[in-house]
Symmetry: C2
Subunit: 145 residues, 2 copies
């Protein structure tokens, strides 16, 4: 069953079933945001109360395995999940913890060079920039952590 409005994007072609919970998690991420598991739970529960956080985590892990979503971790805050997009990096505001995607294609060359020099294979890489966003720029200084 795959009705109008249902989100699939490849789940049903994997060895996993397309359940309504999984479709709802994909739906929650479909607008391109970077959401924590808790935030995804909130969105999913709007249309489907009773879903548990455990299911959200299990679903996200499956979706990551299939390649439909990516997980990003930053010190001090819960992991953020995004639907898989073109390779990009992140800027995290040190004050409000908001997150923005940025492109930086030249990083790929650097990462590959470094990895090769050190003898690493099968590499992935990510650049995280932490700084004060323009909206927070007027605020008094708060220490990074």
């Amino acid at each position: 069953m795959l009705q109008a409005g249902t989100v699939d994007h490849g789940l049903s072609q994997s060895r996993y079933r397309l359940t309504k919970q999984r479709a709802a998690v994909l739906q929650a991420l479909s607008d391109g945001g970077h959401l924590s598991a808790e935030a995804i739970l909130e969105r999913v529960r709007l249309h489907m109360p009773g879903v548990s956080l455990g299911t959200i985590y299990r679903t996200l892990d499956i979706l990551r395995e299939i390649g439909l979503v990516q997980i990003f971790t930053f010190g001090g805050i819960a992991a953020r999940y995004e639907k898989t997009l073109d390779k990009h990096h992140h800027v995290l505001c040190s004050v409000c913890r908001s997150l923005v995607n940025v492109r930086a294609d030249s990083v790929a060359d650097i990462a590959r060079d470094v990895a090769e020099r050190e003898g690493y294979t099968d590499i992935d890489f990510s650049l995280t920039i932490v700084g004060r966003c323009s909206a927070c720029a007027a605020q008094p200084a708060i220490a990074l952590r």
Copy 2:
């Protein structure tokens, strides 16, 4: 009191006291490794049994505030602490979770450009490369996470 062999490197010039626990944490990090709080505790306890993990975390937080150590977090593993060195980045082995420091000076320019374009100020940045280290290259594949 600051005897021969004691590690200080600036703590006593801060508003914090140089206690033997704090000196021991600095000592544990003096060989340039990237240690978890637990690993630091082990090293410290060799010469000073009875030190608690809470003290290690509190000490590391102070040392970070003063600028003597840096904290780095990676998804799925406990945070690693290093004594402050020249700007560098990390390569994490996806199999054995070993961590290596690498230089990549050109990343700084990219990060500054990106941050400026997006309107961020007071930036810091870090490139994390995840890959299979040469020692693990012979092993069967294990999924990244």
